[in-house]
């Protein structure tokens, strides 16, 4: 029991460390979600962060990353549609990709599907995916007049 409590305290400390050192540099929850998903091994579902693991242990680092991933997911689910569209637009700009290509790829590959943490409730996941779909449609519709103007 005491070991579990101590371990939980370590995880909280590690999560605070991660928030303070790394996540504070990533202001948007969408970016944080994608960043934290990239820290996860697709085959094992375990998270890896060398810096955090060296300060704590691999297990503690893994749990802290998972906690922060869940946190970013919850924040994104709680975000309004307008907020989500804004975050997606900002993320798209930050990638310096052609917006048309970006939107086409996101619509086709739906990369957000692999960005959600495990053990999240299915309805929240369904809702977020649905919101992504709508946000992509809004961004695409906004781009349409620009494309027509460019073509003309």
């Amino acid at each position: 029991m005491a070991t579990t409590t101590l371990r939980r305290m370590d995880v909280q400390q590690a999560a605070d460390d991660l928030r303070h050192r790394t996540l504070s540099e990533i202001p948007r929850s969408l970016d944080r979600l994608i960043y934290l998903a990239s820290m996860r091994d697709y085959n094992t579902g375990l998270y890896y962060h060398d810096g955090l693991a060296s300060r704590f242990t691999q297990e503690v680092a893994c749990e802290a990353l998972a906690d922060c991933h869940h946190e970013a997911f919850r924040q994104l689910v709680g975000c309004s549609l307008q907020g989500l569209v804004g975050q997606m637009e900002a993320y798209m700009d930050s990638t310096h990709t052609n917006p048309v290509e970006f939107l086409a790829t996101w619509k086709r590959l739906e990369p957000y599907r692999v960005a959600v943490p495990v053990e999240t409730d299915p309805l929240s996941v369904e809702f977020l995916f649905s919101s992504f779909k709508i946000a992509l449609a809004i961004l695409e519709a906004r781009l349409a007049p620009q494309r027509v103007a460019l073509a003309a």
Binding site: G78, L81, S131
Partner: protein, 194 residues
């Protein structure tokens, strides 16, 4: 001899009743079985942590999202938005209904073994379950026909009624909490508080 006929009739009826009772399939879950308890606990967790939190329900049915989409003045997006929100809203009601059915199974079959509920409480619970399940069906129909923003008040009342039933079920399942597990070895095990 004629006086024997009613007795013979009753006897035949009893034999038939016994025959049908023997042939009846055993219930999938034994009353008071752990499977029902686990299912009820899971249903409670899903409802309280996943389906009923105000943040999620508020987001799914948020009018501000509709206003935002309308302000963008994009007819194709408006249609997609309403379709997507309707799908999610229907999924929400369906999942709430499904979990409430699990809780009702627990109350019908097992709760009386673990929680000393009075007859009156049991009747009130039965009515509350029936009313909520009916409300879920009605809400599903409304959302299906009129869309996700058809009955905001009913969404709130359904969520509130489900939350109330969760509280009652939680009290009935209270004996599963680790703090009460040490009482399992005592002679009163299996007779948890209501």
């Amino acid at each position: 001899m004629i006086q024997l006929i009613p007795f013979m009739f009753v006897g035949v009826l009893l034999v038939f009743s016994l025959f049908f009772l023997m042939r009846r399939k055993p219930r999938a879950r034994a009353e008071g079985g752990t499977e029902v308890l686990v299912e009820a606990r899971q249903a409670l967790n899903v409802l309280q942590a996943g389906l009923l939190p105000q943040e999620l329900v508020g987001r799914i049915f948020a009018k501000e999202d509709l206003d935002y989409v309308l302000s963008e003045a994009l007819p194709s997006v408006h249609k997609l938005f309403l379709e997507e929100r309707k799908k999610t809203a229907l999924s929400w009601v369906d999942q709430v209904r499904h979990q409430i059915l699990s809780l009702r199974r627990f109350h019908l079959g097992s709760a009386r073994f673990y929680a000393r509920l009075s007859m009156r409480t049991e009747m009130e619970l039965a009515l509350a379950f029936a009313a909520l399940l009916f409300e879920c069906r009605l809400l599903q129909a409304l959302l299906y026909v009129k869309g996700p923003y058809a009955a905001p008040g009913m969404v709130g009342s359904t969520a509130a009624a489900a939350a109330r039933l969760c509280k009652i079920s939680e009290a009935s399942l209270d004996f599963l909490n680790p703090s009460h597990l040490n009482t399992l070895g005592s002679p009163s095990a299996g007779q948890a508080r209501p």
